[in-house]
Amino acid sequence: MRLEAIENPTLARSLGLPVLALVATFMVGGFLAMLAGANPLLTFGLIVKGAVGSKFALLETLNRATPLIFTGLAVAVAFRAKLWNIGAEAQLYAGALVTILIGTKLALPGPLLIPLMGIGAMIAGGVVLLGPVLLKTRLGVDEVVTTLLFNFIMLLLISMLLEGPLKDPMGMGWPKSEAIPRNARLPRLVEGLRLHWGFGIAILSAVVVWVVQTRTTLGYEIRAVGLNAEAARFAGIPVGAVMVKTALLSGGLAALAGYSEVAGLKGNLTLDLSPGFGYTGIVVAMLALLNPLGVIVSAIFVAGIFVGADGMSRAAEVPTYIADILLACALLFMVLAILLTKFRVRKG
């Protein structure tokens, strides 16, 4: 077989295939539910109910979507420049760490701490990604492996700090940090509802990234480098500098996920702050076709599946890991569907 480019794909093709990818994903899900001895439709019903069935469930989904918007944006920005940042997990923890350091060690008024922690977190996240990116641009070391390996190093570093200098003396022996003061927490978005300003900042970030990508020179340069780095260099675009800026932006966004989880939700730092938000960000970004505004939608969708699966598994005998399989399938089916909107399969 070979692939043949389609000049003008029809609307039915451009829209139908991605929808088909989602249908295929849920067919796999249905099969998995049947393997567990459950009724597929009932299982999906329970997932939907668990995700959006009540005000509490919906707010829980939005809360879970918040870090995913940040890590999804981080991945979307980087992948657009063909910078394969698989290390959003490490950058998230770097952001969380600096948030805790500033929040617990600096005796400043809360209103001052809130922005300071955010800025500090972004710098930390950017710096963490800068290492692998400089290794890539200067020495040609593949960033996929280095960013992946950094995830493990960062988690061990956090573990070391939580059992050492950052350990909460009142923590009953658990490896967790002291909490940041109450007045340095991100306030509720709406009084009385369990949804914090981290969600607002996430939406705002998505809009800012969209503006940067579509309305600025940097956005143009990032796209040019991603499409063809050699051609971009030939056209006089400083490829190395664009990569560094992309890295700072991407790492900073991932770090905001850690900032928002600590300052908005948890208050302190533990080793289970992120159940893989950094890796899930890759799925979020790909489902959004790397579009920053699309990231908001896909993050809420992905968060809904996770929250819904939690609720579902309490009622039905289907393990929660069905959510992870669904997302992996969605990712693979979606990249294939997107390809087939632009190419036709020919025999021979």
Binding site: R2, V144, V145, L149, N151, L156, L157, L332
Partner: protein, 315 residues
């Protein structure tokens, strides 16, 4: 320092080096085959997880140990097939698909684990491979207990390197495989199918990765734990680069790496262990992998067509 010397001259240390190296050798050879054919396989981490699970559950269900190895290999080949279809004929991003395969294989293993053992709080144990003394050689002083009293899978790992090297450099198939990673159009011009060669390499390579995973459950630990692969797959990708895509040098890299890993575990028990937090020791493997990548970055002879999909009729 004397503590380090004491460790290095003990036979049990070198026996541990071979044991720790074994899963890495399988998976590194698997990745090497894929990359020599021009396909990066980031599914490696997840494929090791599914191999570890599939091999273990098969033995738990009553299959003999070698049956478990075969089941693990088949499970890896299945996910390798998905990776191959998406990246070779469809030419999708090898990065994105690879990460997707890792997520899919890992979550499939966890899902299947929960389904097959819903009630247990800790995973049941199986009777793993036992060390086999090589007659004559295992009686040698020092060398015997260090090298010739290993489980069959460890011997098999070294045998695999030999086979991979022989096939790659001494057979027409190996020549075609190497060529397909360097200059696919030339291979096509010879009347061979680039698609078939690359897909075959990815499927076989993925089978080997899964055997590497299975080593952990049916030769080393006798049980399946979540997160037991713990980045070993990513380390193997670094080892392929470190070995400059050559089987013998990759083997050397795996042994060197295992030696450092065995050393850090033992150093934790010494006076160094009380001075330095244990997390620092656990970081060493990952830091070494990054250092290895940096060290080799200037000289590595990357297969020219690595990560470049081939679409017939283009150009």
């Amino acid at each position: 320092m004397s503590e380090i010397v004491d460790i290095l001259i003990s036979a049990s240390f070198w026996a541990a080096v071979l044991r720790i190296a074994s899963p890495l050798i399988f998976a590194t050879m698997g990745e090497l085959i894929c990359e020599r054919a021009g396909v990066l396989n980031l599914g490696i981490e997840g494929i090791m997880v599914i191999g570890a699970f599939a091999g273990w559950i098969a033995v738990y269900a009553g299959l003999p140990l070698w049956g478990g190895v075969a089941v693990a290999m088949l499970s890896g080949m299945f996910f390798g097939l998905i990776h191959a279809v998406l990246t070779v004929p469809f030419g999708l991003s090898q990065h994105v698909v690879g990460i997707g395969i890792t997520l899919l294989a890992t979550s499939s293993a966890y899902y299947a684990y929960r389904l097959s053992l819903p009630e247990v709080s800790s995973p049941p144990r199986i009777e793993p491979f036992q060390p086999i003394d090589i007659p004559g050689l295992s009686d040698l002083p020092f060398v015997g207990p260090a090298l010739f009293s290993q489980t069959p899978l460890t011997y098999f790992a070294f045998f695999t390197v030999l086979v991979v090297a022989l096939v790659l450099y001494r057979t027409p198939l190996g020549l075609a495989l190497r060529a397909v990673g360097e200059n696919p159009s030339a291979v096509e011009a010879q009347g061979l199918s680039v698609t078939a060669l690359r897909m075959g390499a990815v499927i076989v390579g993925s089978g080997l990765m899964a055997v590497g995973g299975a080593f952990l459950t049916i030769s080393a630990f006798s049980s399946f734990f979540f997160e037991m692969v713990n980045g070993r797959g990513w380390i193997c990708i670094a080892l392929v680069v470190f070995g400059a895509w050559s089987p013998s040098r990759a083997l050397l890299g795996a042994l060197l790496f295992a030696a450092f890993d065995a050393l850090q575990v033992r150093l934790q028990q010494t006076s160094y262990g009380t001075l330095v937090p244990y997390q620092v020791f656990l970081m060493i493997p990952y830091i070494l992998s990054i250092l290895a990548l940096i060290l080799m970055s200037r000289r590595a002879n990357v297969p020219a067509a690595l990560m470049t999909p081939y679409n017939r009729g283009e150009r």
